[in-house]
Every structure is written in C-alpha cells, then in structure tokens.
C-alpha cells in the first residue's frame, strides 16, 4: 500500500479527532470481519447484503460498485488525491460523482474493499451508510460559506447531523433509506424539498437563528414535495426534533410493501397534520429527557472548524483577457460558470463535468490530480461536489480566473455550460446499474451533442434536463425542467418526457407528457419541445416559466409532431 505524502489537514472543514478516527478504523475492521464471514459462508448473501450496503457496496451489472461518502459535498485536496489513487489502483482510472454528491467507483472487487476502506480512513473518508435502509449522506448547499445569500454556513449543522446519524442504534434498520439536506438561504441549491427531511436555517421575527424542518419529499415511483414539520425549531432542540421525526417514521411506516415504505408515503397517508402531532409528542419527551440537547458550545465548536479563510481585501475586477489567448472561450466560461462570492474580488467557480459527448459526472484519475493541485493553488485546498454532478471551487480570486480557466481547459474541464441545457443530470443507467430498465448516458450524450452550439445554448438559457434510467429516479427526472425516464417496453428502451419539474425553492413535480419515445426519437422530441419554447416565450422567461404559463398542450403537440404527421399522411 502506498504511503501518502504528509499533507497538513485542511483548515476550513471538519477534522477528525482521535474518536472520529477510531470510529472509522473500527468500522473498517468490522467490515473486514463481515467480508471474512461472507467468504467462509458464515453469512449468506441475503444476510451479507444489508451489511455491505451500509458500507456502500453494491453488486451491479458488471462488478461491485463502491459509493464513497462526501459529507455535505466537501472535499480537501488530499482527499481528492486519494480518490485518484483509488481510481487507478482499484478501478479503471475514473470515478463518477452522483446526485447525492457522493463518489462512485464501478469496477470494484469485494476482496479489495476492506483495503480501500483503510485507504479512505487514512484521509478521513468512509463509505458508512451511503446505502441501506438508514440515514444516508447529509447534503448541503454547494456554495456554503462562499455565497452572500446564506444566513450562515449550513455545514456545521450537517456535520452534527452526520455524527448523530452514524450507526444510530435505533435507526439502522428503517423501512427504507432516509436522505437529509441542510440549506441556509431562501435560494435552494440542494433540492431540499425533494428530501425525506431537510433543515433550512432561518431567522425568526426577532432575528434569532433557528431551523425550519420539512419532511416527506421524495422521488421514485411516487414523487412528493416535502411538507413543513416545524417553522422554527430552536437551535438547542434540533437533534431532539430530528430524532422525533425518525422515531415516528421507524415505528409507523409500513413494512409490507417496499414501494410504500418511504417517509413520504407515511406522511401523505396519515396526513401532515397528524404526522406533526405524532412528532410533537415524541419531541416533547426527547427534549424533556435532555440527553439530545445541542449545547451552544458544541455548535460553536463544530462551527469553528468551518471558519472561512481570511479573504484578501480586494475589489471586484473581473479579468477580461484569457491566459492562453482564447478570450472568447474565457468570456463564455465566465458568463455561465462564475458566481458571485461574498468577498469582493473573489468568485465561485463551477467546474462542469458535462462536456457534450462525455459521461455526465465522470472524472478521470488524471483530472482529479490536476484538480487537487488547483484546489491548493487557487481555492484554499477545498472543493465542493454538487447534486447536479459538477464541482465547485468555492473561494477563488477573480484575478486568478484566467489561470484557472487555462488549466481547466488543458484537462478538458472548461466546458462553459453550467446551468445551460447541456448541463444534464444523468444516472449511470443500464450501462452500469442492476436496477435500470434503460440506458441513460447515451441519451444524455446525444442530447448534449445536439445542443452543443454555445450561442444556441445561451439563447435557450436556463433549462435543466434530468435523466433517469429507471423509476428509482437517481437522475432526479421528476425535478427536471425537462425530465426523461427510461422504461422497458417489451424489451425495447423507451423514454418518457416530463415537463415543468423543479428542484429549486420553487419545487414542483414534472408532468408526464404521454407515451414514450424510442432511443432514436427522444433527442428529436426534446428538440421540438425546446423549439416550441423559443416560439412561445415572453421576454425574460426561462423554459420553466413558459411551461408554467402555457401548460403541457403546446409542448405535447410539438413533441408528437412526427407521430401526428405520420397519422395524417398514413
């Protein structure tokens, strides 16, 4: 096993202390023991499966897949280098970032997983609870700590929730998975309303910060937007409140039909009011018992880990000249991939992992290593993973943008399409996934290549396409402005369109258009839908706005134009 070079821990995120380190190390040994018991037959596959899932290990179509937790989407440079090492040593030289900001490796061997977990533990990483019927990776706003519009950084709370939910003795065998997100602004960059539970940091009428808790969102077979559980939970009560929600879910969820066992089903079956009443009962008792109260000192202690870097005192001065003579490229990249930073003279950079024709969300070991160096040089050693399968350098100086752009361009990661139509969210689909009904990646590639012309992309503006290869909706198609669901119709791949979904603060579930399109028709159908938008839009309207104004009918007519023509002419 290679020994990593010593690198000082990153100062702006949580750092393990001796207890955290021992916890992860013992978890690795525990899994090592479980693997040994599986190979000896002491555990059969049915018994081993939940145990390996709770360490993020799936058996997929071609091989084992390992899902590594990236807590609240935050990585330090040494962690990125470790992921590159694992990609090379244990996989085929690349990895995939998911819609829950985790990293997936697709070509893993069971017998090597304990060693991989040890490697990860050496840089304070793990695969704990990235699958299984337990609390999953806690996600947060990928602009945390950098955006001017947050009340405070949501990640300290996310870290506190992560610890509270790790190997929780009461909630490790829930009815189904449980996904939690934390945001701290009215703008929702984490798709909070689509989560089983989410916390929004808010201020009450007196200006005191506290937590709005929502629950019951979810994708999958039956999509739901979350309901408000409490408009304001006091800081010190938050863990007691979250525990109350989990307890009601664990006690009262069905266990007889796997398709009806998410919390969204429970809340919508008993009704939000009744559910809140049950939660309130548990909450009062847990709060009274006092053991889960979150002291101010503890919140402050965790918050201190995330203290922002001392930003250089600069003024806003966007460079216009590129470093490599490609001024037009640089200009395009700035237009879509740069976002406002809270500190003058600074910027937030999106690294798009969506070059048209490439696999959305994938990154090679070589690229990871260059990115790690860039993190150190330009972004205080830190990067974020977004639920839209891109990366974000949170704290760069505007004057470094030409250098950053040039370096990204050199490794093929300067695609200037953040938030544009070719910035597609896409699950691995039938090319990799055991659960899939249809391939998704080739569809994303075809559509992205169809719309690759940048001028056209800017004309279209913000249009979020999200593609899932099966009803499990890992591609978040219900939240797509244009959502695409791959289905298997008598052995043939078909693709259904949904319009008008949103994963932002204006959350909505996409409307199903109608019968699906074949593999060679779907890109045409999407193009007709987009052209219809261009025809119908009012000034300033995004696709989503036009759809909400005019409804499905005009888009449906446009999409099925080929079929209509054939019917008229046949």
């Amino acid at each position: 096993m290679d020994r990593p070079e010593f690198e000082p821990p990153h100062p702006h995120m949580y750092r393990y202390d001796e207890f955290d380190a021992q916890f992860v190390a013992e978890r690795v040994e525990q899994f090592r023991g479980q693997v040994a018991r599986r190979l000896s037959g002491e555990l059969n596959e049915d018994q081993f499966k939940p145990l390996r899932l709770m360490n993020g290990l799936y058996l997929q179509l071609h091989a084992y897949m390992l899902r590594i937790a990236v807590p609240y989407g935050t990585l330090a440079s040494r962690q990125m280098r470790k992921l590159a090492y694992i990609a090379r040593r244990y996989d085929k030289g690349f990895g995939h970032f998911t819609t829950r900001t985790n990293m997936q490796f697709n070509w893993i061997k069971l017998v090597e997983v304990p060693d991989i977990l040890s490697e990860l533990a050496s840089v304070e990483m793990h695969c704990i609870q990235t699958s299984g019927n337990c609390v999953r990776n806690v996600t947060a706003d990928h602009f945390a700590g950098a955006t001017p519009d947050e009340i405070e950084d949501p990640r300290p709370l996310a870290e506190i929730i992560r610890q509270w939910s790790s190997l929780h003795p009461e909630f490790t065998f829930l009815a189904r998975k449980f996904k939690i997100a934390v945001i701290a602004s009215e703008t929702d960059r984490a798709a909070a309303q689509w989560h089983d539970m989410a916390v929004q940091i808010v201020r009450n009428g007196k200006g005191r910060a506290g937590y709005k808790v929502i629950a019951g969102g979810g994708m999958g077979r039956t999509p739901y937007i979350a309901h408000v559980m409490s408009e304001f939970v006091e800081r010190e009560d938050i863990l007691a409140y979250l525990e109350a929600v989990l307890r009601v879910y664990n006690m009262d969820s069905r266990r007889d039909n796997i398709h009806k066992q998410r919390i969204k089903i429970l809340i919508n079956t008993v009704g939000p009011e009744e559910f809140r009443r049950r939660v309130a009962r548990e909450f009062e008792e847990i709060k009274r018992a006092g053991t889960l109260q979150l002291p101010q000192e503890e919140l402050a202690r965790i918050t201190a880990y995330f203290a922002p870097p001392a930003f250089e005192k600069l003024t806003d001065a966007m460079p216009v000249v590129s470093e490599d003579g490609g001024d037009a490229d640089f200009e395009n990249w700035k237009t879509s991939n740069i976002h406002q930073h809270r500190a003058p003279g600074h910027a937030i950079v999106t690294i798009s992992l969506k070059e048209p024709g490439k696999v959305p969300g994938d990154v090679s070991a070589d690229q990871m290593e260059v990115i790690a160096d860039m993190m150190d040089e330009f972004s205080v050693g830190e990067i974020r993973v977004t639920h839209e399968q891109n990366l974000v350098l949170p704290h760069v100086r505007q004057r470094d943008l030409p250098a950053i752009h040039a370096r990204l361009k050199a490794i093929g990661l300067a695609t200037p399409n953040a938030g544009l139509i070719t910035d597609i969210i896409c699950c691995p689909g039938l090319d990799y996934c055991d659960l899939a009904n249809a391939r998704s990646i080739p569809i994303a590639q075809t559509i992205a290549q169809r719309f690759a012309d940048l001028e056209r992309q800017h004309d279209i503006g913000e249009l979020k396409i999200k593609i899932s290869g099966c009803i499990n909706a890992c591609g978040h198609h219900h939240a797509g402005h244009i959502g695409i669901l791959g289905v298997d119709k008598k052995g043939v791949e078909f693709y259904q369109l949904q319009l008008g979904g949103s994963g932002a603060e204006d959350a909505s579930i996409g409307d199903i258009m109608g019968p699906g399109f074949g593999e060679h028709e779907i890109a045409d159908a999407v193009e007709r839908v987009v052209n219809q938008y261009l025809k119908l839009r009012n000034k300033g309207e995004r696709f989503l706005d036009t759809y909400r104004r005019v409804g499905m009918e005009p888009f449906k007519n446009a999409a099925y134009q080929e079929q209509l023509n054939a019917a008229y002419n046949g």
Binding site: D17, N133, E285
Partner: protein, 169 residues
C-alpha cells in the same frame, strides 16, 4: 434455543405458549399480546412470572400500565430488516420506564446485537451455535458511539468534553 442474558448463556426459565395451548402449571410463561388481552386477569393471577411477546407491529404502549407487572417483554424481529423493535425497546425503557427483561427474539443478525444492546435489550434468544464469545465480540466491535441511548454509554461528545485526548489527525 439458548438465551443470553447477564453476560451468560443460561437456561430459559420461561416457556413461550401458543395462543391455543394451555398455560404451564408453574414457571414463567410468555404469551402473545392478543392472549394477554384476552386472558389478562387469569394470567396475572397465576403465581408465576408472566411475559408478553410483541409482534413488530405492536407498540408496547398497548400494554398500558400492565407492562410493569410483566417480568419479560419479548420483541420479535420477523426479519432482520424490520427494525421497529429498536424503537419499541427504546420506548419501553424511556417513556414507559420498564425495568424488566427486554428480550430479542426472531430473526436478527449478530451485527444487530450491539444496536439492540444500546436501545435497551438485555436478553437474546440466539440461534444454536451462537456462542457467548460471539455475543461479547458483537458488543465490542465499536468502542465509541456518537449518540446517547438507553445504555447510558458516554458519547464521543461527552468524552471530548471530559478532556480526553483530542489529538488532531
């Protein structure tokens, strides 16, 4: 099947009695909730310990105050995936303040024993061949816990506050 309790493998002093079977003349008897509700007075009048086995769908609050007259509450795991009993045990120990034996029965994994112990189980009907060594090992795999539970174990946060070493890694 063997019973583990009090860090020992012991003979079970209780007999689990089917709903349509007669109660034993003497000795501990465990019955279903349905039977307990039907024959409550007769069961409590017996001069012998009584226990109730709850199904995964049965909240121990259904026992009402009678819970304190039970020597044993057995919580069933119909499948290891069904984790409701973890909450039932927690409720027994906290809300209901139950101090008798909380027993795990049914289909659970070695790997669940530690969680069960943490939420208030103190007895386990284990499969044949499941040894006391394995049981002890199950409880010792993880030295530290993040969240408080009914076992009263000090959490990592409490250990930190107590001034234990916090060497940065």
């Amino acid at each position: 099947m063997p019973l583990i309790t009090g860090d020992a493998l012991v003979a079970d002093s209780f007999i689990t009695v089917a709903d349509d079977a007669p109660l034993p003349e003497s000795g501990g008897a465990i019955v279903s909730l349905a039977r307990f509700q039907k024959d409550r007075d007769a069961l409590l009048a017996r001069n012998a310990p009584i226990g109730v086995e709850l199904k995964a769908s049965e909240n121990p609050e259904l026992l009402g105050d009678d819970v304190h007259r039970l020597s044993v509450v057995a919580l069933d795991f119909p499948a290891f995936r069904d984790g409701r009993a973890f909450s039932w045990a927690r409720i027994l120990r906290t809300r209901l303040g139950y101090t008798g034996q909380v027993r795990a029965v049914g289909k659970f994994l070695y790997d669940q024993v530690n969680y069960q112990h943490r939420v208030g189980f103190d007895a386990w009907i284990v499969p044949e061949g499941f040894t006391l060594e394995q049981f002890r090992r199950a409880l010792s795999e993880m030295s530290h816990v993040y969240q408080p539970s009914t076992d009263g174990r000090k959490t990592i946060r409490e250990l930190r506050a107590a001034g234990s070493k916090t060497r940065q890694h």
